[in-house]
Symmetry: C2
């Protein structure tokens, strides 16, 4: 057997362990009886320690090092396919990253973020930043240590960003986001700041079963067949978990509003399609894993926003929607379309519209970058947050619960993650622009319920590659230009000009 095949044979159980870990996490959010939380944390801690041991063992390193120089990434064996060579490169990078973090660091880190998350929940509930502040200090310090262990050349924030969006630097983001901020600030100023005039139609309650019927129509169109290779459930926070291309699970929020749930279905469904489109054959290798969090987010935003908030989409679905929810028979499609694209600054990121959303991310990026670089103090976060919110969106949170305490990410240690949300929008717009040129008739197809050509295009141009190519390479190959914010700006200008919003 070749060294490469032997390596797969010997170490594919590592990916099985990751899948099992994911299943336990999914189960915890969706099925697990509440009282089992303590034993579940023991099960997960054991799996994590086993995974660490297996991915950093001498046997693993030696087997990998026999095929590739882990430091220089020079490949030592011959006759590899392009995919096999890419896998070696990604395994080497993963190994380097994993072994830089010591076991004791990881243990301390998880103990602190677990506790910090509990404290954050309480602090958010009582809008009490002082309660969370000492824990945020600990988490920031640990992330600074993490960045030092991982190594960087320019700023420690680069090391953290690289965990979620390989290939993008803090400098790239700063320039990208300053361009975007300038553009969006101008747009926000042109909006009314008032509620949608059609808000009243969405105030009543609705039957859960009706929502599920309508969602099922969407899932069928997207090609997500419940209980075949995917499933949808309810959970406190919507999420998607791709255990394997034959086992992709996502959730929507049980108690949320009608539109929120429909767009969550499209958003998580977009994530699910990416996971389902990964290679089954490469399930145990990086070629079978998503390229980055930003590219993942581009897939969810593609279906949620580029498609799901487009007129053609609702030309097809609105009559069906009105059949299931007859109260909307009084609301014209054009008004419904206006409503779902209404722009209004609000303090809470997860309810933000398409224009203000990236500004929420830019705010977080600036603050977390400065925290990690040590140029601002944790205690200054609330007033810096509020000042920036005023400057960007013209509003001030009434308290820290809807201000700097609103998101879980910092308490769970995910510094470097937020920017991927904005990158997702940029990637999506850029790829969509290329897609429109290949399929000028996409609107007519979507408006008559044809979706598979679009899903197939994404699968062929993005999903199937896994980590074989970098995000930059994927974007370049689709758009024939480097990653840039131009398409996103054009898309926004055109759409909202047509909507007569600006």
């Amino acid at each position: 057997m070749s060294l490469y095949k032997d390596f797969i044979e010997k170490f594919s159980h590592i990916q099985l362990l990751r899948q099992i870990e994911q299943l336990l996490e999914w189960d915890q959010q969706v099925c697990m009886p509440a009282a089992a939380v303590e034993i579940r944390s023991k099960q997960l801690a054991y799996l994590a320690s086993l995974l660490y041991k297996e991915t950093t063992s001498a046997a693993y390193r030696d087997a990998l090092e026999a095929m590739i120089d882990i430091n220089t990434e020079n490949i030592k064996i011959k006759d590899l396919s392009f995919t096999e060579a890419a896998n070696l490169r990604e395994w080497a990078r993963d190994f380097k990253r994993m072994t830089k973090l010591t076991k004791s660091f990881i243990q301390t880190y998880y103990t602190v973020v677990t506790k910090a998350t509990e404290v954050w929940k309480e602090a958010k509930k009582t809008a009490n930043f002082a309660l969370f502040s000492p824990w945020l200090q600990k988490v920031v310090a640990l992330n600074q240590e993490k960045a030092n262990l991982l190594g960087y050349t320019t700023t420690p924030y680069d090391a953290l960003l690289d965990l979620y969006e390989p290939g993008i630097t803090t400098e790239d983001l700063s320039s990208l986001f300053s361009d975007l901020e300038y553009f969006l600030l101008d747009k926000v100023k042109r909006t009314s700041g008032k509620n949608s005039p059609y808000e009243v139609y969405f105030e009543g309650s609705f039957a859960q079963a009706d929502l599920m019927s309508f969602n099922q129509l969407i899932l069928d169109s997207l090609g997500l067949y419940n209980n075949h290779n995917s499933r949808v459930d309810f959970s406190v926070h919507p999420f998607c978990m791709g255990i394997h291309p034959t086992d992709v699970r996502f959730t929507i929020h049980k108690d949320n509003g009608l539109l929120e749930n429909i767009f969550a279905t499209l958003h998580e469904g977009g994530h699910a399609l990416y996971e389902l489109g990964l290679s089954k054959e490469e399930w145990a290798t990086p070629a079978g894993q998503a390229a980055s969090m930003g590219l993942h987010e581009s897939q969810s935003r593609w279906w949620e926003v580029m498609v799901g908030k487009s007129l053609p989409f609702w030309k097809y679905f609105y009559p069906k929607f009105q059949m299931i929810f007859p109260q909307f028979k009084q609301l014209a499609l054009s008004d419904f379309y206006q409503h779902i694209n209404h722009i209004r600054p609000s303090c809470v990121r997860i309810y933000a519209d398409e224009i203000t959303y990236p500004l929420h991310i830019i705010l977080r990026f600036k603050l977390e970058k400065q925290l990690i670089e040590g140029t601002i103090e944790v205690e200054d976060v609330p007033h810096l947050w509020n000042d920036e919110m005023k400057r960007l969106l013209g509003i001030t949170p009434t308290n820290d619960a809807e201000g700097c305490l609103q998101d879980i990410h910092w308490s769970s240690g995910s510094f470097g993650y937020f920017p991927t949300y904005a990158l997702g929008n940029i990637y999506a717009a850029q790829c969509f622009h290329a897609f429109e040129q290949s399929f000028p008739a996409w609107k007519e197809n979507i408006a008559t319920g044809k979706f598979s050509f679009m899903r197939d295009w994404l699968r062929e141009r993005i999903h199937q590659f896994g980590r074989i190519y970098s995000v930059a390479q994927i974007i370049q190959s689709i758009t024939e230009t480097p990653m840039a914010v131009q398409s996103y700006k054009e898309y926004i200008t055109q759409k909202y000009t047509n909507l007569a919003i600006f």
Copy 2:
């Protein structure tokens, strides 16, 4: 730290691995998308190999051997509690058993039974024993080899029986079952062999949601609070999985009839109460595990039959049942009670009544004992089965699908398991007799909806002990007599005489 505490600290991850394995099995039956079956079998095979490695390692053996002589069970360390000493004894027994089966045997065994189960499904579907016969031969041969590896003195069947019901021998069973057979044959002869006259009331369809409402009342009474420390779902075959005393999951059959589902809820709920009653502190040790499959079955039959098919139970529940299912307002409680205890021989074990059920087990016990002892051939099974069915129940299966192909157990290799179903009834009746003497007013309590005194009694007298005591010791302590069939016979005679059935 003491050797004992050190051992727990070092090896409790073995129990975590078992819990994780159980969760994956539960998920496969209840949640998993169908297409994931292939990757799931890889995940489970990996966990099984890891468990085998961990439970047979030299490090594990040495740590255990430092505390107890694994062969003689002589304890080498001092100042142990009764529970701690019992745990050492059970760990030693488990280790001896596990290391007798070689890794290559286990791999061959699981490969064969996995394939045999697939073939059995097809054979049952087409009522084609010839298709299954060569695979049954393989499974029998592997079970003979298993018995040889495990070791025995009198008959190889003893070695298999011991896996499910430690302490019971084939000789015990033969004498017990021949006594029972003589008793039950006489009873069966006195029944009409006709359908219940009230069958017509149960022929219509019913709303799933109504069944769930009624089941919820039962679960509340039993003290099974969905989503707190347990949960109920639907699956193809009802089962109960006790992952931990804070995470017990059971299922009922989605497409089954109304009564079948209610009694399945009581049956699986009885299993669940046993698992919930095990010690939380001893979760990682034998003291936190159920004593035997037979004792487990006694708990399910207790709630399903001794309670669930009793008049006091329905005095309380029948008015509620009639509220939810108004079609039963025409059927008097006494007639309903008569109906649920109607006796009529049928070919299919899982639909059998209280009187004929043990005869189905006795038939299987005799056949599987002879198969393992090599005194009958696999090819003779169909006609031996049919002859015995005629002799015991006076009926003949129309084909092998409702004859010797009806159960999954043999294809999955579980020789030695069937007897525990009959033992469960015997244990339940014997313990119930003792219970009645302690609580002569149990009927009045149950008839007014008081259930907790009964659950507490079972918890105190059975559940909390786990494997600290043998089943024989538990029965002796409750009833002050050894295990015997007398109480069961008295219970049957009294109940069915009162029902004027014989």
